[in-house]
Symmetry: C2
Subunit: 356 residues, 2 copies
Amino acid sequence: MLALSAHHLGFEVHILSENQDDPAQQVVSHAHIGQLDDEETLENFAAKMDVTTFESEFLDSDLLSRVAKKTKAKLYPSPRIMGQLQDRLTQKTLLDKMKIPTAPWYPVATQEQAELAASELGYPLVFKKRRGGYDGYGTFVIQDGAALKDFVKAQLGREVSFIAEKWVPFRRELACIFARNVSGEIFHYPLVESLQKNSRCFWIKGPVKHPGFAAFAAKFKKLLAQSDYVGVMGVELFDTKKGLIVNELAPRVHNTGHYTMDTFTTGQFELHIKALFDQPIKNTKTNAKGFAMVNLLGAEPPHKDLQWTLDPSVRLHWYGKKEARPGRKMGHINVVDSSPDTALKTALKALKGFKI
Amino acid sequence: MLALSAHHLGFEVHILSENQDDPAQQVVSHAHIGQLDDEETLENFAAKMDVTTFESEFLDSDLLSRVAKKTKAKLYPSPRIMGQLQDRLTQKTLLDKMKIPTAPWYPVATQEQAELAASELGYPLVFKKRRGGYDGYGTFVIQDGAALKDFVKAQLGREVSFIAEKWVPFRRELACIFARNVSGEIFHYPLVESLQKNSRCFWIKGPVKHPGFAAFAAKFKKLLAQSDYVGVMGVELFDTKKGLIVNELAPRVHNTGHYTMDTFTTGQFELHIKALFDQPIKNTKTNAKGFAMVNLLGAEPPHKDLQWTLDPSVRLHWYGKKEARPGRKMGHINVVDSSPDTALKTALKALKGFKI
């Protein structure tokens, strides 16, 4: 979707990925196939581009730092902030430093640290892998001391480190897409509510009002400025009794922002590109009173068997992935309507037309 | 834009064109380069596709008919109706047969026929090449007998034939995008007003109301049904004292329909694809009270020199053409607003930000 937005703006788009079947490779003429952990491959690619950005936050940030230094290529977001955010320990440290509320936490690599975390934070206790976790992978919810022993035995003492987080009861999950361009201009889309299903985003609706959001956004802008962040960032939040707290940050375009592509004059994908090229990013708007996005998790391709008899309000986005697996994000639908709830209702009704 | 819409719907898109630099080739991974008048090239291409459609209406329809017959490929619109519409004489004949008003006309290949047309239709008299004319190319406005003699001397007696049309005074030009799917379902977007600049579409605004449009649309649907047309068709109209008359028909997605991509839940490009795959085409809608589209004729690429400080209402589409020539369609901007006139005002103001 990033490549398609760049096409709409007339850019020449080059994609480097490991597999010819990757959806992004299907929509560009300049396909580069190579290993993303190979320094020479990255150097050769980045050196030829005006700007390089990332679809995944899990690339080796030390490797990217060396590439940026050697080639003088513009890599956004910077390898430094990518590295800081892709490790939950340094992400948490950054949030603490900027006084942005998150669940209390401890670093955990040993049995001793795990037991300390349990005694300080209580049960249920959430362990998250420091690196590489997403959509619930790498997350363990521990209910009691016996489960803790099992967890320690099965998971600790290897190369993998964790953080332990206090279980925070929340009323609902919220999310917001922020963006910052090279010169430091910052913009954010409205706050939305999201619902997870098996640790994957199922739907979002918005806009949502929260009395604490303005203060949160002001603080968060300082984090973006201090870390010289460039591009779009997805921010996942918990709405708790004590106010908004950050669940996690994703340094990239984000599933909870897919609604923007049909709701705002500049959607998150286009906004990301504008940010990289240091264009003004505040000049986008919506007339929508309500909107919703529903992920087509594990849905079969609609092209052959299904009539696209979707409600007229529905916009379908299908990703062209070769195979539908249970829970896999195969596409999404966007709806704009008179309120968040009516939009969501229409979107969920449309979902029934798909074979899951 | 057709390829990009197909991508959003998750299709595998193959483009056959004569030049690697063509905009469509830049946005697909399956590029096929070949001559569009070569039978074997067309056969090999069409035989591999589920459905094949056309960006231009000027391909050799006899050749396409042979290809369709031999390969059993689905070509939409059909070569037969393409052939009928790409020749102004048979297009006019079809309109007359369906009792759809157009400017009175005569076929002209000889001096005698030219003089007959002048005596019957009077001056000013408009000569149009039967084949291959577009954006004013191949059109000659003749003011008097002396000019007629010059025209006859310079243009007639060669391989080229013309039609002569009576000059029809009109208040404004209008346009409408129709679509018909394989099963015969028909849809049209609203009527819009268009303004030409040097015979090229400069802007459109809409929706426009006209008391005669409902009756016109009913008649036009019969033409689409009778000719078994499949896909989107652009219909250019004159608003005259005697009502709506057809200026010309374009059997393809059309410049006057570019506004639909940011105004309707299903724009003309996506609708064309749905029509080819026999999907329902009526389920699209808009919440827009007014909209406008302005072509960026001869504009320089905005990427390097220009800040995209466009009004927040503006959506920019840039085509990625390599070179800006005077009057060349380099991109367009779409605006949705509270009325057609306010939308157009915003779009024209945004145009000033471009280097023409």
